[in-house]
Symmetry: C2
Subunit: 189 residues, 2 copies
Amino acid sequence: MKQTRTNLSDADTRREAIVEAALAAFAQSGFAATPVTAVAALAGISQAYVFKLFPSKEGLFVAAVERCYERIEETLEQSAGRARSDDPNAILSAMGDGYAGLIADRTILMIQVHAQSAADVPAIRDAVRRGLARIVRFAKHRSGASDEAVQSFIAFGQLCHLITTADVFDLGEDWARLLARNIRHVPAN
Amino acid sequence: MKQTRTNLSDADTRREAIVEAALAAFAQSGFAATPVTAVAALAGISQAYVFKLFPSKEGLFVAAVERCYERIEETLEQSAGRARSDDPNAILSAMGDGYAGLIADRTILMIQVHAQSAADVPAIRDAVRRGLARIVRFAKHRSGASDEAVQSFIAFGQLCHLITTADVFDLGEDWARLLARNIRHVPAN
DNA sequence: AACTTCAGTGAGTACCTACTCACTCACCAT
DNA sequence: ATGGTGAGTGAGTAGGTACTCACTGAAGTT
């Protein structure tokens, strides 16, 4: 029995730290190209202990993807509360602002891109589906916007991912300006 | 001197075959997770010879990405010719139809997704940029549509990629139908 | 003091993979 | 025949990486 702490046990604290490190590490190089040692080093522990707390590299990646979508939903929720009116489009727009801030450091954005790329692994594909389901449902019900508006919200989010991964912002060329027009972009300080 | 053939030399024929094999192999597992042996096996030659014709795995992948965007541009061009009217939106719509057919077998779609995921490699990021530039410029000038319409064309293309990688078509759930609404989808044969 | 529990690790194992190199073989010109 | 050229490969090398396991050490329990 462990009731000396009302907080998480030490192992759970570690698990948290590892997921956080996994977000950062996998965001950099993706699922296949990121060794578990990189995650362990970032978390400041041995690689062996990572495998004691997570069943496999795949399981660790799935945990990171889940955390990623949780954080997106939280962010949408908070920013929806900051909308100036109850107009569905105003709420969606506020969510867009919040999301732009969230992905400023690219971590959450790149995890999604890498997860999409690794979605041939069934467990990863399922995690992406569950995450998408959460976000789409939340955006729809919280904003009350039309299906078309929510779909467009997601579509332009994907465009934003593309622009960011290819570093098209601030490129100056005609096609680049066309793509990036009116896309919210918070530079990563 | 080699002028007994007006066609490609044998080495160039091989190069072609290898790029074709690379498209298929990399589309399956992505850049990092696809060994060059897989490409070689698919092309029916030894791995050593692949490295004689391409400088590195990275160079091979870049060649595949370039081929991918070439094929997209060709497809857009052909399908634009089939538009029923000169109305910009009709032309863009015809391009969308053509693209939906092109990505039916997922190869061209997945190469783009994997390239985006591997875009931290400078040469790959540049290939993506060049490809995007071609497509955006072509779509804009050939259709004569507004910047907004072209941007939307690309954004919904990205949404289509997401839906496809996560296998959301035919999922039946509310959020899945919302996302896939009016997205062209040609089932793979 | 003896025992249990649990966070944590060093040092493997077994396998994979990018890339190289010395070599073969078929064909052609002289 | 002889020698050159270019397609093509078998057999490496060097390094990386997912995952395992026997172990340590500290803290609590009895």
